[in-house]
């Protein structure tokens, strides 16, 4: 919950916040431009942070143009909290089992959007308590979130109730209104950071502006379906033919799984080494991959449509049963980064429109 009301400062204050975090010893991670794409990475100075660009996203399309606001790229916080590869253990030829010790560090996300903040809350339900690596980074994690004043074409955070304004679970939330900055602290550290800036309690005019911008943003980020009763409605249409229709365009590449900020499935690779030892390495896996449901004696989802259906139903129905929350935060990455431009929102709408048996 926010600890303070709203304050107003100037956008130059972001540099102060950044330097303050670095000064406190945090590894600060934010978006920088790599090969024409916004990528999450460690920033050694504020100047490395992407600025004056906008990401133009639509189904199957992503590009950067000059602009004043951006949302995100293919990376999400899980890249750091739940790395794509992680060695579980190494076993020598004489069967001595050694588990690698990972150094913990103090991680701060700078300028995440509310959808990605929400994805961390989802991962908390899945991974806290079972993944020591995740838990150790999460413990001291700092989240500086930027409220989303201009959701993109593939965004639907308002439908998923995850944005465009962050309501809780952040250290500091800021909103850019031209050269002004509206700030809200959500933790003691957030208050401390806020105190390093020259700020004043928000005035009526700025507050009205802020509310209006958030309201407009909220209107832009709708999926065309409502959450009300959605899990049950989808399960009632579990045999919908829509999945087969949509999956005709699907390539089974699992890009959707990889860019999804909450997809947590993993495979374990066996890596035999030349000295006779072997490692087992955890790597991201996704339900769209052919081998995902394969066993030696057969295959539980040989058809692509069945794998795609699992993805959709897991996010919007099964996740609720497993973890008490949706597995989708409405970031729209799976839509943007799908090479075939398959639109998850459209799939859900289509399934809901269809009858309960097909």
């Amino acid at each position: 919950m926010p600890l303070t009301g709203l304050y107003v400062g100037m956008v130059e204050g972001l540099r102060t916040l950044f330097d303050e975090l670095r000064g406190l010893g945090y590894v600060v991670v934010g978006y920088k431009i790599v090969d024409g794409v916004l990528r999450l990475g460690e920033l050694s100075s504020f100047d490395e942070l992407a600025r004056r660009v906008e990401d133009v996203q639509s189904p199957g399309r992503y590009s950067l143009v000059s602009g004043s606001f951006y949302r995100h790229g293919p990376d999400s916080p899980k890249k750091f909290l739940y790395p794509p590869t992680l060695t579980l253990f190494k076993v020598s030829s004489k069967w001595d089992i050694a588990t690698p010790v990972y150094e913990s560090y103090n991680l701060a996300f700078f300028g995440l959007k509310p959808c990605d903040l929400a994805s961390i809350k989802v991962l908390d339900r899945v991974l806290l308590g079972v993944d020591e690596y995740y838990a150790s980074l999460r413990k001291n994690l700092v989240i500086i979130v930027e409220n989303c004043t201009n959701p993109g074409n593939t965004c639907f955070c308002s439908t998923m109730n995850t944005g465009p304004r962050a309501r809780d679970s952040f250290d500091l939330a800021y909103t850019k209104l031209n050269d002004k900055l509206v700030l809200e602290a959500g933790s003691e550290l957030g208050v401390r950071l806020l105190n390093t800036l020259e700020v004043e309690p928000i005035d009526d005019a700025t507050y009205e502006r802020f509310e209006a911008v958030m309201r407009d943003a909220s209107e832009k980020a709708r999926a065309g379906f409502e959450l009300n009763g959605l899990p049950e409605e989808l399960e009632l249409r579990i045999e919908s033919k829509t999945y087969e229709e949509v999956a005709e365009r699907c390539l089974g590449c699992a890009n959707c799984n990889m860019v999804c900020p909450t997809c947590f499935c993993f495979d374990v690779l066996d890596v035999p080494l030349i000295d006779g030892s072997a490692e087992r390495v955890r790597v991201w896996d996704g339900c769209l991959n052919f081998t995902y449901g394969q066993v030696a004696g057969g295959h539980f989802r040989p058809d692509l449509w069945a794998r795609y259906r699992h993805f959709v139903l897991h996010k919007f129905a099964y996740w609720i049963k497993q973890f008490g929350t949706y597995g989708c935060v409405g970031c729209g990455r799976c839509i943007t980064w799908c090479p075939a431009g398959i639109d998850l929102r459209e799939t859900v709408r289509k399934v809901l429109r269809g009858g309960k048996s097909g």
Binding site: F89, D131, E132, P272
Partner: protein, 276 residues
């Protein structure tokens, strides 16, 4: 920082004995590492072959005193095929026991029907052992077992022992008989007609290929058996065994953690759905 989920790190265990069952099935008797719980009927262990991989294998027998647990393995996949090379005294990685097993306490005083297909018999053998050991505690035991050919019948050397358990019936069938085969021919579902017990007082445990389980369930329901008394052991791709990796999901269930044994009414919404 510590290690990633300690539950994924195996313990060293040694193979006490290897017993050949059929041309492509062997049973590996493994001494449980210290501190590991004794498995219950229907549970499984994750067995790791050095440098090759890890597979979920059901417990097919258990000696509580010596803490030796049997795992019956069919050589069919890239990992299980390397099991064929393992010998007595070899070391193996062990994690377990995992999952929810057969509901043995619920069936006390009731009849028990076991329906097994192919490699589905080993996970049911601990149930037969338990009933034989505490014979008075349970009602009638009926075992229905089907395999592809007579040569594929697992544990055939102990069928006489099963039949000599008081108040027990054993029916065996094969799909493709050999010349010397004198028994039933056909799928295991055909044997359900021999089951003559009060469905209200009877639990049915099924383990086998999914297609066989579907047919068996249809036949059982037709004969009045109850969805809350029919239990199935499901197979899925269990990579982690502890509900983390996602591969074994059937609908919202992690088969490794919520199962592998489920009462039918639990999963009936998903069980009939193609490629769920």
């Amino acid at each position: 920082m510590g290690k990633y989920s300690a539950t994924l790190i195996p313990l060293k265990a040694s193979i006490n004995r290897v017993k050949t069952e059929t041309s492509n099935v062997k049973t590996y008797y493994i001494e449980l590492p210290e501190g590991v719980d004794l498995p219950k009927p229907g549970q499984f262990d994750m067995l790791y072959v050095h440098g090759v991989g890890e597979v979920p294998i059901s417990v097919s027998d258990l000696d509580e005193k010596s803490r030796v647990v049997a795992h019956t393995v069919r050589f069919v996949g890239s990992v299980t095929k390397t099991f064929e090379l393992l010998r007595e005294g070899d070391v193996i990685g062990f994690r377990g026991p995992y999952g929810v097993g057969w509901p043995m306490s619920s069936v006390v005083g009731r009849n028990v029907v076991l329906v097994a297909g192919g490699i589905g018999l080993p996970p049911l053998r601990p149930v037969i052992r338990e009933i034989a050991r505490n014979r008075g505690a349970y009602g009638k035991l009926i075992i229905l077992y089907g395999a592809r050919t007579p040569e594929d019948l697992i544990f055939s050397y102990e069928y006489c022992d099963y039949e000599s358990i008081p108040n027990t019936e054993l029916y065996v069938t094969v799909d493709k008989p050999s010349e010397s085969w004198r028994g039933s021919v056909g799928v295991v579902t055909n044997l359900i007609k021999h089951v003559d017990v009060d469905p209200n007082e009877t639990y049915v445990f099924i383990c086998g290929p999914e297609i066989m389980m579907r047919f068996a369930v249809r036949e059982l329901i037709k004969r009045g058996f109850k969805t809350n008394k029919i239990y199935l052991s499901l197979e899925r791709r269990m990579k982690c065994g502890v509900g983390l990796c996602g591969h074994c999901q059937m609908g919202p269930y992690f088969v490794c953690k919520h199962g592998p044994v489920f009462p039918l009414w639990f999963i009936s919404r998903y069980f009939w759905v193609d490629q769920i």
